[in-house]
């Protein structure tokens, strides 16, 4: 029916690209489409006002299930059945609260896992209902009660009949002073002793100060001998000299302290150093080399790319490819021969082993990289999808060929086999109308900054 398989190949290619795009959009949009198996547990609340079927059941703020049904229990209470995701095992002594979120107080169920037992809840198990945490109306009610209490206290003050209270206060003070004098009279003997001991201490102190005055003992010499003071004076003078120089901004230390310019410079140097280090941290350089064997043309095609990665979410690719198919050039000539007959001639020129250039900008969204720019000297787009912790890369590329009417399409899978080694397998230019389609396989090497540094230092040691 559809004899031309080219369109179908392109259709598959575009469908694959669209599929990747949809997958990425779904992941980026954060749509959880998976349906998980659940088991039911139930609890009985005095009231389930505001609670609706299908609202969230959370543990520690993380949704673990939904409210499956709400029904009347024993004609006066509400029995709430909750569907909890399989794999979440709650302790048997957990309790359930009804809580509210948001300005409008949307209700949901919060489970507080108990810790007193090793037993886990089974399907159909029942847990206790805890008193619903205070919601806005409860808080308002309590505030009202507090305000009423406060009013009771402040009302007499406001009315000014404080006379009796003051009288009470004064009588209390009197009582206290009476008790104090009682204590003193009861302990008269002890107090006298304490005072005598204090007196003795004072006498000792007098002796010590006398000794210092007479210049005996090291403290006494320090204070009474003039030479000590002279030496101290000299030290102070030289210290003053030094501090003077520092203040005047002389010497290294002085410049460091007095000259604002110095500290500014230090500051700037430090901040630029940290900036540089941070940038180093983020900025990465990769050199990629790959050689692919195109089975149909018996040709080894090699590419070397420099990949500059200023951040994890984007990079720039610059490189060259040595391609089997070179530039195609077609020129029309019109000549008139001796007989006046006009002849048209066409000259076609094909150059082989042509260098082609890559210059692309790439952005990464989660596991997908979208690239655009020059691909093998043609305008094009590329899509990379990474799997298995970036080890496996699936790539679709489309760019304008220089000879074909049709776009140059390529599908490729690449696997990181060991450290810097990659194995590539793909199908190149598979809708070519010039018989250029060919499967290919090959090996790639990818060096990062550290590998390069290592290689360069190794190379420099050779010279």
């Amino acid at each position: 029916m559809y004899k031309s398989s080219t369109e179908i190949k392109v259709g598959l290619f575009v469908l694959a690209a669209l599929g990747l795009f949809v997958w990425m959009a779904v992941r980026l949009g954060g749509f959880g489409l998976s349906v998980k198996d659940t088991y039911n547990i139930s609890t009985v609340f005095p009231s389930a006002v505001g609670l609706k079927q299908g609202v969230a059941v959370e543990v520690a703020g993380i949704q673990v299930g939904t409210v499956a049904s709400i029904e009347l229990y024993d004609d006066k209470q509400a029995r709430v059945v909750m569907a909890i995701q399989d794999g979440i095992r709650l302790p048997a002594d957990s309790a359930a609260f009804i809580r509210s979120s948001g300005l409008l107080g949307d209700k949901y169920v919060e489970l507080a896992p108990g810790g007193g037992t090793q037993e886990k809840l089974e399907a159909g198990g029942q847990i206790a209902a805890a008193r619903a945490a205070a919601d806005v109306s409860d808080v308002m009610q309590q505030l009202g009660e507090i305000a009423a209490d406060l009013k009771k206290i402040t009302a007499p003050l406001a009315e000014g009949n404080t006379g009796s209270d003051l009288k009470d206060l004064i009588s209390n003070l009197k009582d206290m002073s009476e008790r104090l004098s009682g204590i003193v009279s009861a302990n008269e003997a002890g107090l006298t002793e304490t005072l005598a001991a204090l007196n003795g201490s004072m006498t000792n102190l007098q002796e010590i100060t006398d000794k210092i005055n007479s210049g005996s003992g090291s403290l006494g010499r320090l204070i009474n001998d003039d030479s000590t003071v002279r030496e101290l004076n000299q030290s102070l003078a030289s210290i003053r000299h030094i501090t003077g120089r520092i203040e005047a901004g002389e010497g290294t230390l002085g410049r460091l302290i007095s000259d604002d310019g110095t500290i500014d410079k230090v500051d700037r140097a430090l901040s630029s150093l940290t900036g540089y280090l941070e940038k180093e941290d983020k900025f990465k350089v990769f050199v990629e080399y790959r050689a692919d064997y195109l089975t149909r043309h018996d040709f080894l095609k090699s590419t070397i790319n420099l990949r500059l990665q200023p951040g994890p979410d984007r990079y720039y690719l610059l490189g060259v490819t040595g391609d089997y198919f070179g530039k195609y050039k077609r020129s029309d000539f019109r000549s008139t021969d001796a007989n006046g007959v006009v002849r048209n001639s066409i000259e076609e020129e094909w150059r082989r082993d042509k260098l082609k250039f890559n210059a692309q900008i790439a952005r990464r969204y989660y596991d997908m990289v979208v690239r655009g720019g020059l691909i093998e000297s043609g305008a094009g787009l590329g899509l990379d999808y990474y799997l298995d912790e970036d080890k496996l890369r699936l790539t679709l590329e489309a760019f304008s060929g220089d000879f074909d009417e049709r776009p140059h399409l390529r599908a490729e899978a690449s696997y990181n086999i060991w450290k810097i080694f990659y194995f590539n397998l793909g199908y190149d230019d598979f809708i070519s109308d010039q018989h250029r389609a060919s499967p290919y396989f090959g090996l790639g090497l990818r060096f990062n900054d550290d590998d390069l540094k290592y290689l360069l230092s190794g190379a420099s040691s050779l010279f």
């Binding site: 029916m1 559809y2 080219t6 369109e7 179908i8 190949k9 392109v10 259709g11 598959l12 290619f13 575009v14 469908l15 795009f21 949809v22 990425m24 959009a25 779904v26 980026l28 949009g29 749509f31 300005l103 409008l104 969204y365 305008a379 489309a398 304008s400 009417e405 049709r406 776009p407």
Partner: protein
């Protein structure tokens, strides 16, 4: 291949043919789009043709788009006021309407209106040219029909739709304002809250989407017309198909782009 008359194999064969058919059209469409875009970047430029298409897609659609924007903004505001009155948040009607217009309603409804007005017309026009063999005539005259007929239309769609969407955004907010003020919302709140809550990225992302919609609706219209067959009936089928496929593609791509952008 010999026809299979087995009662079991027939549905399977049908399903296979259907899948292959869908893949065939997807591939064929992609190739056409690629060639149209690729040949647009190269001489001869045919600026006059592009300008004529811009007039058809852009200028002649303005009135329809203004009406769409005004009424959409108005009715959306009516509904939003009803909801927001429930909790006395009427001051937020302005930003709600503005965000909805700039992010979704402006770009999408503009694209749907222009599809009905222009996309189907392109399919019918190219379809008529195909069935009357004018396209073959162009090929014979060594004029690339894709460059001559399709590229200008796609470029016009790509460039004009963002402008039309901007018009729809603005008139939508205007319509919303009129209704809101008539319903007793404070005019100062309406405008002031829009300034607080709507950022440039909302508008720019919306306009980017409308550019993609322009590409879709013109390229689908051209594809359906360019490959139509079967006389006058085929032309009609092409026009209908262009509208239906464009609508679905616009809404689906809108969902995907919104998921990625916002």
């Amino acid at each position: 291949m010999a026809a299979q008359s087995s009662i079991i194999l027939t549905p399977v064969a049908r399903l296979g043919a259907l899948t292959l058919g869908a893949l065939y059209h997807l591939g064929n469409y992609s190739l056409l789009l690629f060639r149209a875009l690729a040949s647009a970047f190269g001489p001869p430029w045919r600026l006059r043709g592009i300008l004529r298409q811009m007039e058809a897609v852009g200028v002649e659609s303005i009135f329809v788009v203004i009406l769409t924007g005004l009424f959409t903004g108005g009715v959306f505001t009516l509904q939003v006021i009803y909801g927001f009155r429930l909790f006395a948040a009427e001051s937020l009607v302005g930003p709600t309407v503005a965000l909805a217009m700039c992010r979704e309603l402006g770009p999408v409804l503009t694209a749907l209106m222009v599809t009905g007005r222009v996309g189907s017309a392109m399919a019918a026009e190219l379809g008529a040219m195909r069935v009357t063999e004018q396209i073959d005539a162009l090929t014979v005259m060594a004029a690339d029909p894709i460059k001559f007929l399709i590229s200008p239309r796609i470029i016009a769609g790509l460039t004009m739709l963002p402008f039309l969407a901007a018009v729809a955004d603005f008139t939508g907010i205007l319509g919303g304002y009129a209704v809101a003020v008539a319903k007793g919302v404070d005019p100062g709140q309406f405008v002031g809250r829009i300034r607080d809550h709507v950022v440039l990225a909302d508008v720019v992302n919306g306009l980017t989407k409308s550019g993609v919609f322009g590409l879709i609706l013109t390229s689908v219209g051209c594809y359906m017309g360019y490959y139509s067959q079967g006389g006058a009936e085929g032309v009609g089928r092409a026009a209908t198909g262009a509208v239906v496929i464009s609508y679905v593609a616009i809404l689906a791509s809108d969902f995907l782009m919104t998921a990625v952008m916002f």
